[in-house]
Symmetry: C2
Subunit: 126 residues, 2 copies
């Protein structure tokens, strides 16, 4: 009986921990280098994919994409999801799959870094 | 007389061009490495400086700061100003000067990259 209690208690603890982990925002910086001959098409597909994700997925909180002025094929995206689960659900959506398959041949390299917000400050949209 | 006309016309053209340039958003990625023994103090001063800038300066549109999970002393900030002039005015403000002098000894390296937005998508704040 005490053994069962310990097992149950441990499982509950673990579940609580896993849940706490999943409820943390999941934030990443993606650094992508694009084939220069397909850059305009890539940017257009990226923009469409981002707009759709933030609009229809409750767990996709924000996506900010920029290109390097000196190396315009170098793209950086700051992606913020409500949780790791929200990210995992994002990559299963039709719009993400469409972006991924549509841009696969354009991406020369992709580097992902997990990050944690210190502060997000923005003027409120009117 | 035609020479004066040409000079005047050129100056007007240049002024128009300079103005168009200045009205473009000015966006940068700052990559900063912080002395690990002063990291908490740095983050707190950064947050305060960012909050104040976005709150009181009309030309500071957004600032997003994150740290690398694997290398927590590595900070990335995506800074968006309404124009180059807004940035130049930002660095003259008392809160920026306070942040700059207060964190000078904490910053081990600083790398600035000028970038251009492709898309900024975020859930609207309620």
């Amino acid at each position: 009986m005490p053994k069962l209690f310990i097992i149950t208690f441990s499982l509950l603890l673990f579940a609580g921990f896993a849940n706490a982990q999943n409820n943390k925002p999941y934030v990443r910086i993606a650094k992508i280098v694009i084939d220069s001959t397909q850059l305009e098409s890539y940017k257009s597909q990226l923009k469409t994919g981002m707009e759709t994700a933030v609009k229809i997925e409750p767990g996709v909180l924000s996506m900010y994409a920029v290109y390097d002025n000196q190396f315009p094929t170098h793209i950086t995206i700051l992606e913020t999801y409500a949780s790791k689960e929200a990210y995992q659900s994002h990559i299963l959506t039709p719009h993400f799959k469409k972006y991924k398959s549509g841009t696969l041949s354009m991406v020369k390299s992709l580097e992902l870094t997990d990050v944690t917000p210190i502060a997000y400050e923005a003027k409120k949209k009117k």
